[in-house]
Symmetry: C2
């Protein structure tokens, strides 16, 4: 836990830089890119190629962004998910092309695209301050700061869990972090379609800005003496900060967190996987928020793959 | 939640069958297989080939079973983990062979063996009743029943999390479950070296037996009206039962659980990954046990990959 640091002068400009000006030059954020493939468009976030049945289904169902084209592999076994994908694509007038499996696999960037691949408008980041407003019904913001997760499977898995736990927004650093690549999108099983993302130049200054906006930040660090379970996470805006797979929280990130806490460990292994640690922490926040009546009402389903 | 079922006549014989008589004919459980490769030995559990740096390091460090041989890929960048593996191998007199990367990769059964592969005596299952005895310091048993997880990455990830949460034993069904394959071993990051495993012919009769032995079983089911957080999990022997990725808990398994509960969901996605749901549930048991003073004392580290 660190003292309240002096106000960082870079805080505000940072936020401005993050506002919808993707590195690739801003193309793709306007309209007019509808059903034309524009592979040269680079987004700060990614998300332009989505593979796997769940991820594509969620992309079409949520409808937050334009889907330009869907490729389906020939000769697939009947599947409720594939039927639903074709049905939604027809309704949304998204062109569907049936191609040989080999062609689909050649274009795929994940190991197992499950016979389906969608090309869509990339995801656009939102300004950090947008993530800090109360949600529908006055729900307090519940943010996840993925401060340097570079393995796309870890990031994707964490985003899926975070969405299920009721996280309302995600902060990603511009550098040294996985983007929303096809592997992230697939592992996230559609979570990227639901979550708003802010991209920040530096996590320390973003944490400073979060504090100014009334969000309490908690860094997860295995070696912290403070237990996560002893923190009051149930009320008010919170941001969980998860560090990199290899090095945990960077020194300055750790210093800028309002609290640093550990998930108590009871085994012989040195550490949890970063995605699982993040998930356990997200569900602890969710548990406390539900108990305090601050979270969204708990809903139905759970434990499947 | 089901009523107390009539005593299953198959309960006891089941347990006897599980007692150290692997499907491959029992070879490998005796001594004398020390440094000779015996690829024909099949174990009911597996674990005879371990890949990945953490998994091999844990295999050597724990020393629960004989390691016959280690293969290292040539021309690897210096690594503290590889140095430690060589050092431990020398101390334990395990032959280390340096081979071309291509040969190691050809023998590997995971995608990324990280330049190291160990051949070891397979893991031996223990009788179910052995898992139901109090641990050191009188710790109440805390079991995980992986009732039909077929994806090796899901099972491996769950075993790693379970070990970190203080699970004291794992129950696997003989059929329709992943074994402790190289992918499971690698994803589990060494957890398989610490956990005792029982292999059972049928999960329903195992749950019946657990009840007879005083273990309270809780099935995880997303659609259950009962919240996991409202159950008293902190005292006495408990077994968490996690179903398959696709179908969740089988009907009869569900009926035989003493309680069925959900992790409340707060997002739009239909469900958590099964390994994450299991991890969140394991850490909820750990949290309650620590609060009740029944668990092992919480120890240090946490959130890395």
């Amino acid at each position: 836990m660190s003292g309240r640091p002096p106000r960082a002068p870079k805080g505000r400009p940072e936020r401005r830089r993050g506002r919808g000006r993707p590195e690739g030059g801003g193309a793709g954020s306007g309209s007019g890119t509808r059903s034309r493939p524009r592979p040269q468009v680079l987004s700060e976030l990614g998300g332009d190629q989505v593979e796997g049945r769940r991820a594509v289904l969620e992309l079409l169902t949520v409808g937050r962004r334009t889907v330009r084209r869907i490729l389906l592999a020939e000769d697939q076994d009947p599947s409720v998910q594939l039927d639903r994908i074709e049905e939604l694509a027809a309704r949304l007038r998204v062109p569907v092309e049936t191609v040989p499996r080999a062609r689909l696999d050649a274009q795929a960037r994940t190991e197992a695209p499950q016979g389906v691949l969608a090309l869509a408008r990339p995801l656009e980041p939102v300004p950090l301050e947008d993530l800090c407003r109360p949600g529908r019904g006055g729900t307090a913001p519940f943010l996840l700061v993925a401060a340097g997760i570079t393995d796309p499977r870890n990031l994707g898995a964490l985003l899926r869990s975070a969405e299920c736990a009721g996280v309302t927004g995600v902060v990603l650093p511009r550098h040294r972090s996985a983007r929303l690549s096809p592997t992230v999108a697939k592992t996230a099983a559609g979570a990227i379609e639901h979550l708003p993302f802010a991209v920040v130049g530096g996590v320390p200054s973003a944490l400073h800005e979060l504090r100014e906006l009334g969000v309490w930040s908690i860094g997860l660090a295995g070696e912290a003496p403070q237990s996560l379970y002893d923190l009051p996470l149930g009320e008010g805006p919170v941001a969980l900060v998860v560090g990199s797979e290899e090095k945990g929280l960077a020194h300055l990130v750790r210093r800028r967190c309002d609290a640093v806490a550990a998930i108590p460990q009871h085994g012989a292994l040195p550490s949890l996987n970063v995605g699982v640690a993040g998930a356990v922490a997200c569900f602890e926040v969710a548990r406390q928020r539900a108990a305090a009546g601050a979270g969204t009402p708990a809903s139905v389903p759970g434990a499947r793959s």
